[in-house]
Amino acid sequence: MSLLEVNDLAVSFVTRMGTNRAVDGISFSVDIGKITAIIGESGSGKSVACYSMLGLVPMPPGRIDGGSALFEGQDLLQMSEDQLREIRGRDIAMIFQDPMTCLNPFMTIGKQLMEPLLYHKDVSKQDARARALELLEEVGIRDPETTFDNYPHQFSGGMRQRVMIAMALINEPKLLIADEPTTALDVTIQAQILKLIADLQKNRDIGVIFISHDLAVVADIADQIVVMQQGKIVEGGDSEHIFHHAEHPYTKKLLAAIPADSKAPMPGEPETLIAVRNLCTWFEQGKGKEPVKAVNDVSFDIKRGEVLGLVGESGSGKSTIGRSILRLVPVTSGAVDFDGTDVTGLEGGELKRFRRRMQMIFQDPFASLNPRMTVFDTLAEPLLLHGIENRKSVASGVLKLMDDVGLARNFVRKYPHEFSGGQRQRIAIGRALATRPEFIVADEPVSALDVTIQAQILDLMQELGKEYGLTMLFVSHDLAVVRHLADRILVLYKGEIVEQGTGEELFERPQQDYTRQLLSSIPGRALLE
């Protein structure tokens, strides 16, 4: 018998605008000691399906229309709130996407770990503490005795996710639901957390539901995979079947969205557009403290027309390099030579003229657009500021930009919140292109997007790059994406360049340990070959 058997589950949301079927009759099962992955893009109903079983979907507006979810033979959907609360956290535990917001910042992690134990089981404080320490050890927290009384902010993102996992495991659940547990993490950390989840599941013989938008992430760990689209399961089966004999077009599309090729090197020997020399960007920490050397003595060239990839984990200084070139953070020392002029010394009107020539695309399309400005205002602003269009011609300029980035013209009066993530990123790209720049820094432009949307945005950027003759610095932690897009790649570690070369060189013949480590962290590596 399966641990969890979901049959024909249907969930709707009833709003003033009408009824929206979020989960439309899905069936799947989770076996003891196996990992079932649910894959789908945002809005596909993958999270709603799991949350509704545990009574975590607010009702109304949510409504369970039918089906059953048998957990050890008992139907979760028929249980009262009290019964569900007993099961949540004790028999079924959850791990969430963002370890930053899921821990209470004002409680030590030790206290937070002991809380569910003291609530669900009749144990003494000493026993709870001993148990919590044991678990911290198990999830790979070094020296748990001393970190027990630390607060969440003293941990890195990966460590916090480990704490979250320890918290989920403390009552020895039989089923663990992990909702995009690695999406907010770096590749190397992601690889560690994935391994941890797989190990725990084997050692403890628990069932796992792993929710993700990215097929590649689950490639190495999932036993069963179900692919969801618009509330329905379009394809399901064991991992082998999905990756090698997928039948449904949507599954094939997801597989195709995993970038697996290396960009061909640029022909000829183009001139240098940007020469970065001994660039240092340090952040002062206050008196008596050593400054944070975010970027430390970095030198490299960017050729005209090339896409230079910059990879590294968070904290490696890769974003800071991009921002230093664009003068968005103050440079400590060094020079950035842009087409013959050192931009680090520019001020006032001269700086403004240079700003027009270099633009940035940001990571989070939800934060990078002013929520109170319509698409029109957002795109018109740079056009008017730099005198590219005048008041009369600005409307046609805006519409031209919208055409270029593939946004329908009737969206022109809408505000950012009315768009999906991919559409917003298109607006942001349009804004960056409005000044007709020669150089663009793209800071993780697709890492906040679903895989299929990622592929679309990457295609768009490549296309526009050619059309506008752009030179690009592409900053990312995702090696597969960078290899797909970049002519050359720089690998950054702790503010310094450790290796550089073409995608092929780095992937086939990595010279440094750190590069090798990055490469081995790429999820579903086998898929790339």
């Binding site: 700003r355 990571q363 990078s368 109170r372 022109v412 505000y415 000044t435």
Partner: protein, 295 residues
């Protein structure tokens, strides 16, 4: 195809600003609209008072004394036999002007000060905000008395003085809002477009901080009206026979057991104004929040 493009452009050109959209949304909010109409009506009455008031503002009839509402005196008379309606109309001039001018002064200084401090940060911020702290620490009464002594009693000065005290809180609210907002990438995007700081503050920061500003403004207006009454009561504000709603209410409160109408009617005038303000403020806040109801 060509016609389609032309309509697109026409659509794009026709005022696509935040304020235009806000007005369209506000128009649908009946309560807010009613509030706005009442405020406008009160303001017009206040402006026209010298010509439309039933009696002269200093006309008294000591023989008559306090009388309840009647055909001659719609809202009754006070203990000096002065017509209450006339008093309320003249009082409204002072109270509404105080609310408007003092709050505008507070808004203008507070929002600018806070936005600049929050945006520039560093030493400039430290100096600007320490100044605010010092002003906070100054005893408010002494400040006003000093002003009155130096410049003589002057009603406009009173408004400015009240405004000059009320802006401190506004500056603090604005600064914390701007500090949060400027971390966001859209501000960085604006910098990298080459927008000058003034434009960034005006176009990108202030519109996104409007919610708290409006809420605080609707709280400030009644508090400055009451502050005026308090100062006048102490003899620092306006003097009889000039009057204000605050003064009328405080006199009315003294005699409310014998002559309740002297408290009820000025109180009603103030309450209606404050209700209207709150409805209008709420409506404005919702209308400016583009994320709400786009239906």
């Amino acid at each position: 195809m060509t016609t389609e493009i032309i309509t697109d452009i026409a659509e794009a050109e026709q005022g696509s600003s935040l304020w235009h959209d806000a007005w369209l949304r506000l128009r649908k909010n009946r309560l807010a609209l009613a509030g706005g109409i009442i405020l406008v009506a009160f303001s017009i009455i206040a402006l026209l008072t010298p010509w439309i008031a039933p009696y002269a503002y200093d006309a008294q009839n000591l023989d008559l004394g306090a009388t309840p509402p009647s055909a001659q005196h719609w809202l009754g008379t006070d203990i000096f036999g002065r017509d209450l309606l006339t008093q309320i109309m003249y009082g409204g001039r002072v109270s509404l002007a105080v609310g408007l001018i003092a709050t505008s002064v507070a808004l203008l200084i507070g929002v600018t000060w806070g936005a600049v401090a929050g945006y520039v940060g560093g030493k400039v911020d430290a100096v600007m905000m320490r100044l605010v702290d010092i002003m906070y620490a100054l005893p408010f009464m002494i400040f006003i008395v000093l002003l009155m002594v130096v410049f003589g009693r002057n009603i406009l000065l009173l408004f400015l003085a009240i405004g000059a005290v009320e802006w401190l809180t506004m500056a603090r609210i604005m600064r914390s809002q701007v500090q949060q907002l400027r971390q966001q990438e859209f501000v960085e995007a604006a910098i990298s477009l080459g927008l000058p700081p003034g434009t960034i503050i005006r176009r990108h920061l202030i519109p996104n901080a409007l919610g708290p500003i409006i809420v605080y403004t609707t709280l400030t207006i009644p508090s400055v009206m009451l502050l005026e009454a308090f100062l006048s009561f102490l003899g620092l504000g306006i003097q009889p026979p000039q009057t204000s709603w605050g003064l009328l209410i405080s006199y009315g409160a003294e005699t409310m057991e014998e002559f309740p109408w002297l408290l009820i009617f000025p109180g009603l005038a103030l309450t209606i104004t404050l209700f209207s303000l709150n409805f209008l403020g709420d409506g404005l806040r919702d209308a400016l929040d583009v994320r709400r109801s786009k239906d």
